[in-house]
C-alpha cells in the first residue's frame, strides 16, 4: 500500500493540465498543522507560498467553517414559535421569571457575557485570554483556584452534593474516611507474594486530607474543562471524496484525495470553485 501514490502519479494523465499537479503525500503531517486553526489570527498570518504539508489559510478557514456547521443544531437558522394557547388567561410571573422567559439569548451569548465578566474580575484582557477556547496550551486549573480551596475554612471543605451514609454535618475531626477501600478487594494469596521481584507497584491511596481537598475543588469554567489538544497526538488525513486515506493532494487547493477516480471527481468541483 505504501507505494500507492507513486503508482498513481506514474500513470497520471491529469498532471498535464495547466495549473494542476498531484503530489503523493506519504509522510506524517506535523501534528497540528492539519488541524482546525488555533484562531483567526493564525489563519490570516499563514504564509502565502505554502510548502507541501502545510495548509493554506484558505483551507484552514474551510475547516473552521465546516466544524462550525457541524456544531450547529439543525440545518438552517430556525425560529419555531411557541404554539398559541386559546382560552388561557395570561399567567402572572415574578419579575425574575418574566425576564428569564423573555430572554432569547443563546448559549453563545451567555458564554460571551460570562467571559466578559470574568475578564473584569480577573483584571484585564490578559487574564481573560487564558480562558479563550483558542488557547490550546492554556493553563491547568489555575493554581489560584487551589489556593482558594485551601484557604477556605476547613469546615467548609466539607462534603458536597453526594450523600454519605454518615451524618454529613458532623465536625471535621469526626469525618469518616472518604474511602474505605472496599472497591479494591485484596487479591488471593499467592506463593510468589513475598518475592521482591514481584513486589506490587500499585500506588498508595491518597490521604483523607488530600481527598477532601480534591472534593472541595470548585467547578472549572466551561473552557477550562475542555480536553486539550497536544501536539504529539497523531493526526490522519482522508480523501475528501470517498473517505479513504488522503494520499494525494491537489496543488491548486490542497484538497486530499485517495486516487484517480476521486481526483477526477474533485477536479470538477475544484474547477467550478476556483477556475482552471
Amino acid at each position: 500500500m505504501n507505494n500507492f501514490g507513486v503508482i498513481e502519479l506514474a500513470s497520471a494523465k491529469t498532471t498535464s493540465a495547466p495549473g494542476w499537479a498531484y503530489v503523493p503525500d506519504t509522510g506524517i503531517l506535523p501534528g497540528s498543522s492539519a488541524l482546525q486553526p488555533a484562531n483567526r489570527k493564525r489563519a490570516r498570518n499563514a504564509p502565502a507560498g505554502v510548502t507541501v504539508g502545510d495548509l493554506t489559510a484558505r483551507q484552514e478557514a474551510k475547516i473552521r467553517k465546516e466544524i462550525e456547521a457541524l456544531e450547529r443544531d439543525g440545518g438552517k437558522d430556525i425560529s419555531i414559535p411557541i404554539p398559541a394557547k386559546s382560552g388561557k388567561a395570561p399567567a402572572k410571573h415574578t419579575p425574575n421569571v418574566r425576564k428569564i422567559l423573555q430572554s432569547q439569548k443563546t448559549f453563545s451569548n451567555h458564554l460571551d457575557d460570562f467571559l466578559a465578566i470574568q475578564a473584569q474580575v480577573e483584571g484585564g484582557p490578559a487574564a481573560a485570554g487564558n480562558n479563550r477556547p483558542s488557547n490550546a496550551s492554556s493553563k491547568r486549573p489555575a493554581n489560584k483556584r487551589d489556593a482558594t480551596a485551601a484557604s477556605t475554612p476547613t469546615g467548609s471543605a466539607k462534603p458536597t452534593p453526594g450523600i454519605q451514609e454518615e451524618d454529613v454535618t458532623m465536625a471535621d475531626v469526626d469525618l469518616p474516611p472518604v474511602l474505605v477501600g472496599q472497591y479494591r478487594p485484596p487479591p488471593a494469596a499467592h506463593p510468589g507474594d513475598n518475592d521482591p521481584l514481584l513486589a506490587s507497584r500499585v500506588p498508595d491511596l491518597p490521604s483523607d486530607e488530600e481527598l477532601r481537598k480534591l472534593l472541595a475543588h470548585p467547578p472549572l469554567t466551561y473552557y477550562e474543562t475542555r480536553g486539550k489538544w497536544e501536539d504529539n497526538y497523531p493526526t490522519r488525513v482522508f480523501c475528501e471524496v470517498c473517505g479513504y486515506w488522503g494520499r494525494v493532494r491537489c496543488m491548486k487547493c490542497g484538497t486530499r484525495v485517495c486516487a484517480l477516480d476521486c481526483l477526477e471527481t474533485h477536479r470538477e468541483e475544484c474547477v467550478t470553485r476556483y477556475g482552471l
Partner: protein, 447 residues
C-alpha cells in the same frame, strides 16, 4: 420509607414525592418517585418541532407526526445546558403538569431532583433555580451533575463481580469514572462517593448532534443532499453506525481501489457495507437497514431507469464507522480536541496516581451515543494501551445507558439523608439564589 406515617401538619414537612427529571437536550426523562417506589421514567423528546406543512408539535406530540422529511426542531437545551426557558416551560407545563402528564404532581408538595451538565454557566444555573422556586414553587430542590447520579447503582453487579454485602443501590459507589456521551457533547467525570472531582472533569465537544451532522455531510457529498433531513439521518446513524475495532482494516476493506480495479471486498461489501432503505412516509414510516446485495442493486438500477423504482436505497460503506470514530478522534475532522481515551488520561493526570486503579477499574459509560456497537470495547482497548501496565481497565455500559442517570437519581431520592442536600423553598426565600448556587456547587451545608 421511614417517616411514611408522619402526619402532614408541620409547615416544611419532608415531601413524600420526588419528581426526578433528567433534562437532556435530545430527550427528557421524567418520573415521580412516590414514597420510595420507583416507576419507569417517561422518555420524552425535549423539543418543539415543525414539519414540512408547518404544523407544530410540542414534545411527546411528535408521536403524531407522520412525515418527518425536512422537519425542524427548536430545543430548550443548547450545548447540554438549559438555555431557553420559554420553550422549556412550554414542554414542562404540558408533559409534567398539563394534560399530557401521566402522574399528578403538585410542586408545592414535591421535591424536585434535576440533572445538569458539569461546568454550567452560573447565570443559567441561577435562571433555573429562580424558575424552580418562583414559577413552579417546588417544596424543595436538588440540582446535580447528571453523571454523579450514576453512582447510585449497584456497580459491582454491573461489572459482574461478587456482590458486596455493604452495597445497596442507594449507597453511592465509592469510586468510579463516568463517561456521558450524549447529544451535545461527551463528558468525563470521576466520582468519589457520588461526589464529582471537579478539577478532573473533562469534556470533548463531540456528541450525537455533531455525529448526525457529519453523517449528513458525508451523504450529501457522496449521494444527495440530506442536510435538511437530520431526523432521518439520525435514525440512519442509530441503525447503522458502529465503532470500529480496527479502523485501518475496515477502511481498507471498504475502499473501492484505483481506477478500474474491482477489489473483491468492495464488490462483496466485506460484511461491512449495508443498504439503508429510506422512509418515504407513505408505505414506509421508518428506514430499514439490510444486508448489502449487489445483485439487488443491479435490478433496482434497471427499475430506476424505467421509472419503476419503489424504494430509495442508500448504500453505506465507510460512513458506518467513520462517523462514531469522531468520538475517539475528533481530529479526523480537524477539531483540536483529544479523543475520548486521551481525554480520560488528561482527567486522570489531574488526580493523585493512587486513585487511578480504582477509577480505571470502574468506568461506566452512559448517554445515547454510547449505544454504538463496539463503543466500550474500543474504549477499553485504547485505555489499556495508555495507562500503566498494572492498572486493570474495566469499562461497562448499563443495560439502558439512556435512563441510567434517571434511575440513579431516583435511588438517591430514596436516600435517608436526602434532606441534607436539598434546598427548601423557605431557604431560597430567606437566602436567595446566590446562596443556592454556592450550596450546590461547593456542597456547603450551612450559609
Amino acid at each position: 420509607m421511614a417517616g411514611g406515617r408522619k402526619p402532614k401538619v408541620a409547615a416544611p414537612a419532608r415531601p413524600q414525592n420526588t419528581l426526578v427529571l433528567d433534562n437532556g437536550a435530545w430527550t427528557l426523562k421524567a418520573g415521580l418517585v412516590c414514597g420510595g417506589s420507583i416507576p419507569e421514567p417517561r422518555v420524552i423528546p425535549n423539543c418543539i418541532a415543525r414539519d414540512r406543512s408547518r404544523k407544530i408539535y410540542v414534545a411527546s406530540e411528535l408521536d403524531k407526526c407522520r412525515d418527518f422529511s425536512e422537519i425542524q426542531f427548536r430545543r430548550p437545551v443548547e450545548k447540554g445546558y438549559l438555555v431557553n426557558w420559554e420553550a422549556q416551560k412550554e414542554i414542562w407545563d404540558q408533559e409534567l403538569f398539563g394534560d399530557k402528564a401521566q402522574f399528578k404532581c403538585d410542586p408545592s408538595e414535591t421535591r424536585l431532583m434535576l440533572t445538569e451538565q458539569p461546568n454550567a454557566l452560573p447565570v443559567l444555573q441561577t435562571n433555573c433555580d429562580q424558575i424552580v422556586f418562583e414559577e413552579y414553587g417546588f417544596s424543595s430542590y436538588y440540582r446535580g451533575i447528571g453523571s454523579t447520579f450514576n453512582a447510585y447503582h449497584d456497580l459491582q453487579s454491573l461489572f459482574r463481580t461478587p456482590k458486596d454485602a455493604l452495597t445497596a443501590a442507594n449507597t453511592p459507589a465509592e469510586i468510579m469514572l463516568v463517561v456521558d456521551s450524549g447529544f451535545s457533547h461527551t463528558t468525563i467525570t470521576p466520582l468519589l462517593g457520588g461526589r464529582p472531582l471537579h478539577s478532573a472533569i473533562r469534556r470533548i465537544d463531540i456528541g450525537g448532534k455533531f455525529l448526525t451532522n457529519y453523517m449528513a455531510r458525508l451523504i450529501s457529498l457522496r449521494h444527495f443532499d440530506m442536510r435538511n433531513d437530520l431526523y432521518i439521518v439520525n435514525e440512519m446513524k442509530e441503525a447503522s453506525c458502529y465503532v470500529s475495532a480496527d479502523f485501518k482494516s475496515d477502511l481498507e476493506r471498504t475502499w473501492k481501489g484505483t481506477r478500474g480495479e474491482k477489489r473483491e471486498d468492495y464488490v462483496s461489501g466485506a460484511g461491512i457495507v449495508k443498504d439503508y432503505v429510506l422512509p418515504d412516509f407513505h408505505t414506509r414510516h421508518k428506514g430499514i437497514l439490510r444486508e448489502y446485495d449487489p445483485a439487488q442493486h443491479a435490478k433496482s438500477r434497471k427499475l430506476a431507469a424505467t421509472g419503476h423504482s419503489e424504494e430509495d436505497v442508500l448504500t453505506l460503506r465507510n460512513e458506518r464507522f467513520t462517523v462514531p470514530e469522531l468520538i475517539f478522534r475528533p481530529s479526523d475532522v480537524g477539531m483540536r480536541q483529544p479523543g475520548l481515551a486521551d481525554a480520560i488520561q488528561q482527567s486522570l493526570h489531574e488526580l493523585p496516581i493512587g486513585l487511578w486503579p480504582g477509577l480505571l477499574a470502574n468506568i461506566v459509560v452512559v448517554g445515547g451515543s454510547s449505544l454504538f456497537d463496539g463503543f466500550i470495547q474500543r474504549l477499553q482497548k485504547e485505555l489499556v494501551q495508555l495507562v500503566p501496565d498494572d492498572c486493570i481497565v474495566r469499562v461497562a455500559r448499563p443495560a439502558d445507558p439512556i435512563t441510567n442517570t434517571w434511575y440513579g437519581a431516583a435511588n438517591m431520592a430514596n436516600h435517608p439523608n436526602i434532606e441534607k442536600v436539598v434546598v427548601t423553598k423557605q431557604e431560597y426565600e430567606e437566602n436567595g439564589s446566590a446562596w443556592i448556587a454556592r450550596k450546590f456547587s461547593t456542597g456547603l451545608l450551612t450559609p
